[in-house]
């Protein structure tokens, strides 16, 4: 048997005699998107093993959830994925409404689609900008943040906050949109439409960007599902799954009447790729480039959704409806609901025991599972690939550590 191993060319590796080095990337590191510590076992530049250490931002939000009423826990959901706080609020609000079997009016439904998709655009813009930073180019980051500022201004007008909104709450939203907001939102969309091409020119079709991302960190379909990845990471590997279409009926009900295509490569083609650059030949399905490209497509998809929701929201005449009373008693039982947050499927689980305060609150984070793939993807890559791969997973530490 031993000589068999000796002859197998894949086994033998001729290399200058070197010994391996353990290197810490993080927790204070410019490219780890927050306080993530990656222990790399490197042999020269080749990374043979990566081990993520998390928990630096752990605030045990779930324990607090067992001491406050659901509406009081909304601000804690803001701080889970602080780049997409609206989607977090929405996820928690829907879960509580599912437990209490409390429906929401048409106007509130359309408002929620409008705000959630707008926040998805803002989150993907940060993802795209930060990814440019990971690969060494600074300018796309500023272009992305310039656009994101405009969205934050819109949110500030709607709910007064720019990052942690606590706006979408159980039973609708804390307040209705101010007059004239819809026109401002439409104006933003109109001027944002042509700018998308700039981002494609700056990054997606940039030769060096393609060289740094195509074929790097290939996540096969089976491994993505096995590791519980979700969102753009899953769709980047060609799995046609989007909770807005495949999720719980309560959540997909919110998107009834909206037409959108899931941004995933089906039999070699992305939906509507006539208006986007074609896939470069080096790109393998499931690599960093595809994950990035899915996010860029989702930005346009969300813009369409926002336009549709503006029209529907404007058509509703009746008032928004009152959010839940603070001391409302929770029925006995439990409820779990997964929503499509920008980073992936964000699940909330609540156990009620008849008192207004839930017995157990659980937040299933999408980045938590997405990050767990890192040690598979970063095996045998170069040091410069580690930030590229971790950046393509678009993780947020607040959501992972809870």
């Amino acid at each position: 048997m031993s000589n068999l191993i000796d002859d197998d060319p894949r086994i033998i590796e001729f290399d200058v005699r070197t010994d391996e080095m353990l290197v810490n990337m993080g927790p204070q590191h410019p490219s780890t998107h927050g306080v993530l510590r990656l222990v790399l076992r490197t042999d020269g530049e080749i990374v043979s093993e990566t081990e993520p250490h998390i928990g630096y931002l752990h605030r045990c939000a779930e324990k607090i959830g067992e001491n406050v009423t659901p509406r009081q826990w909304i601000p804690y959901t803001d701080r889970l994925d602080y780049l997409a706080a609206m989607n977090m609020n929405l996820g928690w609000a829907l879960t509580v409404e599912k437990l209490m079997r409390h429906g929401v009016g048409e106007k509130a439904r359309h408002l929620r689609v409008l705000i959630a998709e707008l926040n998805r655009i803002a989150s993907h813009l940060v993802g795209m900008g930060a990814y440019g930073l990971d690969l060494g180019t600074f300018s796309p980051f500023l272009y992305a943040f310039r656009e994101r500022e405009k969205i934050l201004d819109l949110f500030e007008e709607a709910c007064g906050a720019r990052l942690t909104y606590s706006y979408l709450t159980v039973g609708g939203a804390t307040a209705d949109l101010p007059p004239g907001w819809l026109q401002k939102c439409e104006a933003f969309l109109d001027q944002f439409e042509p700018i998308i091409k700039e981002y494609h020119a700056l990054l997606t079709t940039n030769a060096i960007f393609v060289k740094r991302t195509a074929g790097v960190g290939v996540l096969s379909r089976e491994m993505a599902i096995d590791y519980g990845c979700s969102g753009p990471v899953l769709r980047g590997s060609g799995v046609d799954q989007d909770m807005r279409r495949d999720g719980e009926s309560l959540y997909t009900g919110m998107y009834d009447g909206y037409t959108f295509e899931v941004a995933v490569q089906k039999d070699g083609r992305y939906p509507r790729d006539h208006t986007y650059p074609s896939v470069p030949k080096e790109a393998v399905l499931g690599d960093c480039w595809h994950r990035f490209f899915v996010r860029m497509l989702e930005v346009v998809q969300s813009m369409d959704l926002v336009r549709q929701s503006i029209d529907r929201y404007a058509a509703c005449r009746e008032p928004l409806g009152e959010p839940l009373k603070l001391a409302e008693k929770l029925p006995v039982g439990d409820a779990y609901l997964e929503t499509e947050a920008p980073k992936g499927q964000m699940g909330f689980y609540i156990v009620g025991n008849g008192t207004p305060i839930p017995w157990r609150v659980r937040a299933r984070s999408s980045s938590f599972s997405n990050l767990s793939v890192t040690h598979e993807l970063c095996r045998g890559c170069l040091i410069a690939d580690v930030p590229a791969i971790v950046g393509s997973l678009d993780i947020v530490m607040g959501e992972i550590d809870r």
Partner: protein, 414 residues
Amino acid sequence: MADFLIGLGLPGWLAWSIAALVAAVLLLNVIAGGALVFIWAERKIAARIQDRLGPTRTGGRFGWLQSLADGIKLLAKEDLMPEGADGLLFRLAPYVSFCASFCAFIALPFAFDVVGQRLNVGVFFVVAVLGLEVFGVILAGYASASKWSLFGAMREAAQVVSYEVPLGMCVVVPVMLAGTMDLVTIAEKQSGWMSNWYLFHDPFTFVIFWVYVTCAVASVNRAPFDLAEAESELVAGFHTEYSGLRWSFFFMAEYGSMFLVSALAAVLFLGGWNGPVPIAQLVGLSEGTGDSAGYFVRLLGLANLIGKATFGVLLMMWVRWTLPRLRIDQVMTTCLKYCTPIAAVMFAGAMFWQLFLPGGLLPGWSRPAGEIREGWLEGPGGLSATSAPAAVRSAGVAAAESSDSSGLAKRSPR
């Protein structure tokens, strides 16, 4: 200069040392001043590319005192040294890098005869000294006693050493066209209209220019090749642990060598101090027609060279703020699989072009470059004309026979 001081009654040796000192300080400050301007320019250009304003408050509307403010901040900042660092090497590294990058300017001709020291091996000397700058980086990376700086130093050394090969090959083509390594002569050969620039001399040289630009950007560690201080991977590479004045020396060294590399490109390919349109000749002025005219022509030449070099530096800044960074193995493949073979092929092409079409495509149009440039072959002591092999026999008189008195140069061996 020295004679003037002797006139003042200073003892001879004191006068000469002061003159030498003045020349050295003048040269040093031209570059240091240039570096300051480039630091400010980089902030402004980066701002414009990123759709923002850049410094606007420090000193007037355009924030042109920003570099001064940075300088003062760096002076006031505490010079930290990590606990495990090797004291001597840590302190020495920035100065090694700084001196290497600045001492290459001795051989660079700013105007007709305005050159620190007219070396016969000018080009070779500049490329050699450019290779020394990597020492400062290696020592800094090693002495900072941190794994990340070591990585940065390793990458920098590997990159700069391997990019010297194609850089050397690109530099050889203009030397071959001019027939000498003396930068002053190379620039003189390109005087006259813009068509005399070596850039347009033949298609091969044109391609070699762009390969030179790539290799220069890589050997100066800028833009897509700036792996040594890749902030997204190595925090800040070799100068992570530096702060304050020591860090500013690295910074000056980087901008100094950026200016050097683009000035070298200007001299070798873009006609040095000769402007696109030979205004001095048209107006009838030349070095010889008296002091003030000579002074004006040299000033014009200085403006030309600094303009071209600044254009080169701005190009590097523009590239830096738009392109992402390459990976170390891609940097190496571009060097070994793209730059070197292309440079080799173009060099061969330029050689054959030189052999078969010495005067260029339109004989009348551009000056024949085929004759011997070194006058010493006919001069006393050299080989007698009869014995020189046919290929080398000179047709015209070498242009190097210009007057060799130079304000700056202490000695100039013709």
